[in-house]
């Protein structure tokens, strides 16, 4: 077992984990952050995407021990302290950018990362930025629309 310290959604955790534990397993099974989900076992689908020190990572591609000493933000940590939705969450709702919602946590986290690195993307750049996140329901059109609406110069 290895001792790790991590801030998850603003709360400090200190746990002993098996070194092979994936970050997503740690988040779901130890911290109880079941909002972050697992969709595949080959790092293709992006359903498990979280922010590590503000940058998106697929939490299935990282060991929990690699996140030791870092800060993780999950879908459950996006809302403001008064419970208000993050603008990206609101945009997904407003634009019907989700159906079954399983890919949605990862898709929202990746969308935030896309705009963090490029606040005024073209639609093409948004599509490229979301390439690592699969959705089977929406056909992506409304997801792209949601992200564009939050971007600078977007219609939000």
């Amino acid at each position: 077992m290895a001792r790790i310290n991590m801030v998850v959604d603003g709360v400090s955790y200190s746990d002993d984990v098996e070194p092979r534990t994936l970050l997503v397993q740690y988040l779901r099974e130890d911290v109880g952050k079941t909002g972050t989900v697992v969709g595949c076992d080959t790092s293709n689908c992006g359903a498990c995407t979280v922010l590590l020190d503000g940058v998106s990572v697929k939490s299935c591609t990282l060991l929990a021990v690699q996140a030791d000493g870092h800060e993780v933000t999950t879908i459950e940590g996006l809302s403001s302290s008064d419970g208000g939705l993050h603008p990206m969450q609101q945009a997904f709702h407003d634009n019907h950018a989700l159906q079954c919602g399983y890919c949605t946590p990862g898709m929202i986290m990746q969308s935030i990362d896309v705009l963090n690195s490029n606040p005024s993307p073209s639609e093409h750049e948004v599509r490229d930025g979301l390439e690592g996140n699969l959705c089977r329901c929406t056909g992506y059109q409304n997801i792209v629309k949601a992200v564009m609406s939050v971007s600078k110069g977007g219609a939000a």
Binding site: G39, C40, L78, H96, G101, Y102, E123, L134, G139
Partner: protein
């Protein structure tokens, strides 16, 4: 037949943002895999790596001794408890079906079949122990080629004595719905014969299947990522010999299904049996690789069509000879999937003669079953492809050939050669709108210009004018098709004392937004605020009766059950309102949630009556103190959405890359409850159909191993692979239900595949190419171009196309797909696959 009612509609038709979003966008979800129960154990499955073999021995000792392992269970251990997984659709009285144990007992019949189950204290310990189970197999001959299998040779199930499960025939002359097709073919000016291949597909719902079973209560409770909690409850009880009243099934948040979760799975049976045996809660969650390998697949058919026509392009007859690969077993509705297509090959056209013969075949592959569209995409693909071929023969624009044959709007209701009655439709209107939005004439002009200039990037235009049968289904029709259940749906409306409303539905949404749409229907019907309505579903203890969600049935059948229940609430409330208002029942009118005494300003809200009924202090004598109501609705007919889909695709003749430039569709799904949800369903449906046309294929190698065993190889498209669609609607309300609705869940998937492939072929037709087998990967297109330009036609008797794909990254292009193509398409089905 009823007609659509005129009502004030504040909510119906409004683009309501969805209620269910709140939990989904904040991560406060209840996926099955999120459930943790005290003392819960974790299951993993040991799966066969061989496609066909006798289990010579299983050594579980090392696994049993591994840390955390509680039990290792083989098929022999639970042979008496696990029963045989159900098939509810025997399409013929003499249909052949092998026993289908959840855990293989002595034989494995496809790679991925479960041979043992590990039970451990943690998921990791359960997974570790899988590697410690040592299974010896005696290999048996592997049957993979459905066309060869249909002819005999090695057998998938030697005990059955044949690889053919059933042969099902529809003949319009025999049915009295048309004339004799052979006579039509032999006397026609033009006969076009083509064979198309529906590749095997994987539903690839985003939430892997998961099941949790708690056997500790008086009822055994099973949570499952399923589309069909009600059917599952009944089938688990029957399969495992448990009283149905002792089983409760809950479908919590379910992350997509697309038919892939319309199943009674081995994993559900095993988890139930093991939990009951051990007396402890158990959970099983599949990995994506397991899901791709062992959750049921879809499509996988060879379609031979013979279309006859007069010189002017008027079709005189259609003969369809179908081979359908069932895989190793018959799933819940596997045999009926190709049969659903039988009614759709004639599509929107007036064909005078029709014959459909389907042969269902066993092979040593994962079994096939429902996948979005289920029989109808296959039929639509084949007819829309061959109508293009007829247009070439006749020498007219492919739209023209359709117009010459389709049912005109003034000809509805129309009895089809396949025995259905289409209630409404307006193909002219949808087509006119689609052509306008698409810029059809301008694109044709550009295409001609590029052809003239020998542009290396050629433009193709693809058309798909489709219809589908939705709203599964009138129970009498299902009975006539030998389906084991009916097609009704149930709903109840509970009027709470505070004026709030609970709607309980037998439909089981897994992304469709019923909580919102049913709320909108109820709000309009009862005149209560949308936010006062809660829609409950997916738990057999709450929604005790239902037939769940699939086949674009939820709104047309379940929505109508809700309407009927709400109307009963109003009728139950009416005498109570009259009593409270001291008026005659005949003087009351119910509008906007209130009973008004005509000609006065005296009125009562439905919520006031709910409270009065709760108190029950002063009700008319003999009146039940309840205005709650339930209703079960059986549709009188299917519904028939239709639409015109147009695709413009640019094909780079140097590289074979095909890029969709414009996709425009105009769908007629009747009246719309929520346009946001409708548009979303169309978008997603389009992408699944486009994915079949361009990207996806489940490929087995010669030993029966699934090569496309992960999302690395099975190319579910990403945002970067796609474009924005232009969508619009025409509205020809269904006349067979009071809402005037038709269903939208499958339309995009059904329509888009032929639109895209027709566009690819249209781009390449000047090169002498008349087919590209799906998926139309750059490699297949490039190969076809090379073969055509070298003048070397692909031999017609050596068609096809199921070479293993090389592993490729899931990216925008899939150049590494290793495939071959059939340049000429006069494929003999008996030639089969290499």
């Amino acid at each position: 037949m009823t007609t659509t009612e005129e009502r004030p509609a504040a909510e119906i038709g409004a683009p309501r943002r969805r209620k269910e979003d709140q939990r989904l966008i904040t991560g406060r979800t209840r996926w099955t895999d999120n459930i943790t129960l005290p003392g819960m154990l974790h299951l993993t499955m040991v799966r066969s790596p061989v496609a066909h073999g006798k289990i010579a021995s299983i050594d579980t000792e090392a696994a049993k001794a591994a840390p955390g392992v509680i039990a290792v269970i083989t098929g022999a251990d639970i042979a008496d408890e696990q029963g045989s997984l159900p098939c509810a659709w025997p399409i013929t009285p003499d249909q052949k079906a092998p026993p289908h144990p959840a855990v293989a007992v002595d034989t494995v019949n496809f790679a991925g079949e479960i041979v043992a189950c590990i039970v451990a204290r943690s998921p990791a310990e359960a997974r570790d122990a899988v590697e410690l189970v040592d299974v010896d197999y005696d290999d048996l001959p592997v049957v993979l080629d459905m066309a060869a299998a249909a002819q005999g040779g090695e057998l998938t199930h030697p005990d059955l004595g044949t690889n053919v499960s059933a042969t099902w025939v529809y003949d319009s002359a025999e049915a009295g719905t048309g004339s004799d097709v052979e006579a039509a073919i032999s006397s026609s000016d033009i006969v076009v014969e083509r064979t198309y291949r529906q590749q095997r597909l994987i539903p690839a719902f985003m939430e892997p299947r998961s099941v949790v079973c708690d056997p500790t209560g008086e009822q055994t409770t099973l949570w499952s990522a399923t589309q069909i909690p009600h059917i599952l409850r009944l089938m688990l009880a029957l399969t495992c010999g448990i009283s149905e009243s002792k089983v409760r099934v809950i479908a919590p948040d379910v992350g997509g299904g697309f038919g892939g979760k319309l199943q009674v799975t081995p994993e559900e049976v095993i988890t139930l049996v093991v939990a009951r045996r051990l007396g402890r809660p158990c959970k099983y969650t599949e990995t994506r690789s397991e899901s791709i390998m062992a959750a049921h697949h879809g499509r996988d058919q060879i379609q031979k069509l013979t279309l006859s026509a007069r010189r002017d392009g008027t079709v005189t007859g259609l003969k369809v000879e179908l081979l359908a690969d069932m895989g190793a077993y018959l799933g819940l509705v596997s045999p009926g999937i190709p049969i659903l297509g039988a009614f759709m090959y004639n599509s929107i056209y007036k064909f005078p003669a029709y014959r459909f013969v389907c042969t269902n075949v066993f092979t040593n592959k994962n079994w096939t079953d429902a996948y979005r569209g289920a029989g109808r995409p296959e039929a639509t693909y084949a007819i829309e492809r061959i109508m293009d071929e007829l247009a070439v023969e006749v020498g007219v624009d492919p739209m023209e050939i359709r117009e010459r044959n389709w049912i005109k709007h003034e000809e509805f209701p129309f009895s089809t050669v396949a025995g259905l009655e289409y209630d409404t439709g307006n193909y002219e209107a949808a087509t006119a709108r689609a052509k306008e939005l698409f810029g059809y004439d301008a694109l044709r002009a550009e295409q001609e210009q590029r052809r003239q200039s020998n542009d290396p990037v050629q433009l193709g235009i693809g058309i798909s004018t489709f219809t589908e049968m939705c709203g599964l289904a009138p129970s009498r029709v299902l009975g006539a098709l030998s389906y084991a259940a009916g097609g009704w749906e149930h709903a109840s409306v509970r009027m709470l004392p505070s004026g709030k409303v609970e709607v309980v539905t037998g439909t089981s949404p897994h992304g469709q937004g019923h909580e919102t749409a049913w709320g909108q229907i109820t709000a309009d019907r009862l005149g209560v605020p949308f936010d006062d309505i809660e829609v409950l579903h997916g738990d057999t203890q709450i929604s005790h009766k239902g037939l769940d969600s699939y086949g674009s049935r939820s709104l047309t059948v379940g929505g109508m059950a809700l309407v009927a229940a709400a109307d009963k609430v109003i009728e139950k409330a009416r005498p109570i309102a009259a009593h409270m208002l001291e008026a005659s029942v005949d003087d009351l009118e119910f509008t906007a949630g209130r009973f008004n005494v005509r000609g006065t300003d005296s009125s009562l809200g439905i919520g006031d009556i709910a409270l009065a009924v709760f108190a029950a202090h002063d009700l008319p004598f003999g009146v039940e103190p309840s205005i709650d109501a339930e209703a079960t609705f059986d549709p009188a007919n299917f519904s028939f959405p239709h639409g015109t889909h147009l695709c413009a695709i640019e094909v780079d003749t140097d590289t074979g890359a095909a890029k969709i430039r414009n996709y425009t569709c105009v769908d007629d799904i009747g009246n719309v409850i929520n346009p946001l949800i409708v548009e979303g369903q169309v978008h997603g449906g389009l992408v699944q159909g486009i994915a079949q046309a361009l990207f996806e294929e489940a490929v087995y190698d010669d030993s029966g191993t699934l090569v496309t065993g992960s999302f690395v190889d099975y190319l579910v498209p990403s945002a970067a692979d796609l474009l924005n669609f232009t969508t619009d609607r025409t509205e020809s309300p269904s006349t067979t239900n009071a809402l005037g609705v038709k269903g939208v869940g499958e339309a995009g998937t059904i329509a888009s595949t032929p639109a895209v492939v027709n566009a690819v072929v249209d781009a390449l037709r000047p090169l002498g190419i008349n087919d590209i087998e799906m998926p139309c990967s750059p490699y297949r297109i490039w190969t076809a171009i090379q073969a055509a330009s070298s003048g070397a036609k692909t031999p017609t008797d050596n068609p096809t196309v199921d070479e293993p794909a090389q592993p490729t990254h899931n990216a925008a292009t899939s150049e590494a797909m290793t495939t071959e193509t059939s340049g000429d398409n006069a494929i003999d089905t008996e030639g089969g696959r290499a």
